[in-house]
Symmetry: C2
């Protein structure tokens, strides 16, 4: 198969699409949304094994779609370029979903099953408040 110029450009174009072309990747990206999410958060929200989630995160990080930030024992992932959400929204529209449906999913909600600093911020008891 000869490599036509158009195929070379197409290879470049298809890179981001190919990277996120799976329900799992889409779900992870939606959960991260415009905010941050740690692995335990995704674990609690998706119900998958930790290692499995890390594999996807690793791939997305290597593809420069995600970036990570360590905070103590937790590592928070966020989108390197939020416009990847536009791509997801565009695909959702094509499959008949309303942009609103997507936006409600994009919002990073607190998950009560997750115990990371973001989902379960340390509560200050009344007694501690007094001394503060």
């Amino acid at each position: 198969m000869k490599k036509q110029p158009i195929l070379q450009v197409s290879e470049q174009i298809s890179a981001p699409i190919s990277m996120i072309a799976s329900p799992q990747r889409i779900a992870i990206l939606l959960l991260i949304g415009k905010g941050e999410a740690c692995v335990c958060h995704l674990e609690a929200s998706l119900g998958w094994r930790q290692a499995y989630i890390s594999q996807h995160l690793m791939a997305l990080r290597k593809a420069d779609i995600l970036q990570d930030r360590r905070e103590g024992r937790y590592i928070f992932y966020s989108l390197k370029d939020a416009s990847i959400l536009d791509l997801i929204t565009a695909s959702a529209t094509l499959s008949g979903l309303s942009p609103e449906t997507v936006s409600t999913l994009i919002n990073t909600q607190v998950n009560p099953s997750c115990e990371c600093p973001q989902c379960a911020p340390v509560l200050i008891s009344v007694e501690n408040l007094k001394t503060a």
Copy 2:
């Protein structure tokens, strides 16, 4: 792996993306663009075997991304929803390509190697013109 609601929606969202997540599919869609293209046109432009192209066209048709129209011996394919080009453009932008680069590729140019009615319209000779 349990199926969380978000995964079900993600499956729906990922359908169009997954369908076009390959350089070959992208190239074909760009060549069709907002116009029409027959298989022989794609064959001439891409330099691939006919059967191989037909396989991709068949898949894209079954996925409701393409529609076809027969005209004599030729079958012309066109996008069922031109907004799939927006998805392609969005991915191109993410990979650092300018929207202009994409638009120049989208234009359906005539290919001198293709002999379909669109690329090589029947020329009326001077003599035939006289009698017309």
